[in-house]
Symmetry: C2
């Protein structure tokens, strides 16, 4: 079996603590199952800026490009609030997404039965929730040019960002959404603001055409993004797969994540296109949560989203479906047994730290 090359980018804040638990799991899989993972590690975000003056070094970018998969922790913190825009911590993540061409961001919002009660939504509204948000990740207002601040004189400045989408970008992301829907409840909802944005008009048109040409067996709905946000809060169970652009996806996936009761639980996968010859796709896996600088270093961060991101990596990058199921099963089992990190703690449960949570999941694996 060929060695599986993982490149780890723990980043800032709670990133390294959460990643440490994944490293333990990788070691166990290598020892017990001979899974053949080789890991290398780099810097991204504020720590990379401190070391190299850039949010990710060219050397680490090369390693990320060469790896079979990248595991990413989190970036940012108040320490770097005042660094120049071009080298801010987030620039490292954005460069990874862009240079690796990770256009498809998969964000499942799953409500673990054991946690349904901790949502701010009524239990009956979120229990059993299982949505997949497919977010376009390399286009839109995140990368369009011009993107600049112009000095107009007289104390006036002008801030400009550009939302741009081409047909092929919308086609390929909606293809991913339709394919995934076929493995689920066969229902895609596409969201944009076609009543205000020309990119939304094109988005709507291309999704409709792609559906008609190749995926007419899948149920397709269109919703305006503002109405979609509202419907997510009102009755999230109506959705199966949601496909949307980079900026709407950023907002909507965070809202969907919050419905589930804890953003500390949710993983994501960012995938490139399959290589024409090898069929392999570049991939990066990261928790939906951020670097949480306020609790960093205290040993209380929830490592579940990071571990669940590794489970997605097993599934999507290595086809290790059994192992992925086992990791996800171990997470559910530990929650059922009543273990909770501080962010998801509730009456009658047992509060544990990051390391104990990681150990408990590995013990159930």
């Amino acid at each position: 079996m060929a060695t599986k090359h993982l490149f780890l980018l723990p980043g800032d804040g709670i990133g390294p603590e959460a990643m440490a638990e994944v490293k333990k799991l990788i070691a166990v899989m290598n020892d017990r199952l001979g899974s053949g993972f080789a890991t290398d590690e780099g810097l991204v975000g504020g720590c990379a800026y401190d070391a190299h003056g850039a949010a990710i070094s060219d050397a680490d970018m090369e390693k990320a490009m060469a790896a079979d998969a990248v595991l990413f922790g989190a970036v940012g913190g108040p320490k770097w609030d005042a660094v120049p825009y071009e080298v801010r911590p987030e620039a490292g993540l954005l460069r990874l997404r862009k240079d690796m061409e990770l256009f498809a961001n998969l964000r499942p919002a799953i409500c673990y039965p054991a946690l349904a009660a901790s949502s701010s939504l009524k239990q009956e509204v979120v229990e059993g929730l299982d949505i997949l948000i497919v977010r376009e990740l390399t286009g839109g207002v995140y990368f369009g040019e011009p993107k600049q601040i112009i000095d107009l004189g007289n104390g006036q400045k002008r801030g400009i960002d550009t939302q741009v989408y081409d047909t092929f970008e919308i086609e390929r992301i909606s293809g991913v959404a339709f394919e995934l829907a076929r493995t689920r409840k066969n229902h895609v909802t596409s969201m944009e603001k076609r009543n205000v944005m020309k990119s939304g008009v094109l988005w709507n048109e291309v999704v409709t055409q792609t559906h008609k040409a190749r995926y007419s067996d899948v149920k397709l709905d269109h919703m305006l993004a503002d109405a979609g946000g509202m419907q997510l809060v009102r009755w999230p169970m109506q959705f199966d797969v949601i496909v949307t652009d980079n900026l709407f996806g950023d907002m909507l996936s965070d809202i969907a994540a919050m419905l589930t009761g804890s953003i500390g639980m949710l993983p994501s996968a960012s995938l490139g296109a399959p290589d024409v010859k090898t069929k392999k796709r570049k991939a990066l896996y990261e928790p939906v949560h951020g670097s949480a600088p306020d609790i960093a270093g205290k040993g209380i961060a929830n490592p579940i989203a990071m571990i669940a991101s590794f489970a997605m990596c097993l599934r999507y990058s290595f086809g290790m479906v059994d192992e992925a199921d086992r990791v996800e099963g171990a997470i559910a089992a530990v929650l059922d047994a009543g273990l909770r990190t501080k962010d998801i703690m509730s009456d009658g449960m047992t509060e544990v730290g990051t390391v104990e949570m990681g150990d408990a999941i590995i013990a159930k694996f």
Copy 2:
């Protein structure tokens, strides 16, 4: 007392039904209190397109510009889904906002005690909720140029929208937010995506400067818009006034509206700058809900948001604070008495239609 000129634009779908209840209230106020309202009426949205081939005629635009205040119902419906982009129903509303320079959109999200149970959020999370979203309404990606679809050949098109903000636009909208905060809990949260957007960087900078120069007595927080959306769902009571741009405001105000249990309840005001001489400001008042074509003409639409929009009109355009309080009190009293339209119906309450709800509110006025 000078005549108060109201220009009514009921629009499409449930707009006319909801507006009819406001007309009755206006007649009662003229008769009983001698309030001196003169009303004129025009067409906007799909009905204007059917009549004139435009989403609002120039003649009606002139009347809107000349009125003391505009009352707007709702626009759009499947009938006009295929009309050209330039004359789609929403274009009428966008032209009104732009030509009248209504840069400040005030969207209160108030949870009526009688309705707290009908929210999809837990009652304790939303009971007593009182947030004001101040949305910039004449700038950003809604109006920035270029805004177009380019044909690239080879079956490829490119959709482009441009997000633009100038210093003065951010300054004036944040001024509105700070002023309003002083009449409330004195707390403003500004939301943008400065980690990705240059307009967000400028937004953050200008809000910070405006605060420092003129409103340092008000508590100011900054939040990334995605995190803000999440926090709205997690713990909305942490907010007092939220100030944000046109597109984020569109999404966030809809989500905030949904928290309250019914979007059929919520009014909004769109205000221009006070005239240097007369101090009067152009204004348009509209419910947050849309045209709801599926229930139009059935006599079951909830007229409360439209009536509450008229209450905002009394307050902001005519300084009729007592009368505004009385209208809002009548709405609360009718809800306390157990009357409900279909959209907010729950066990043990009395279901009524649009007309009965309007009559009941007028009876309590």
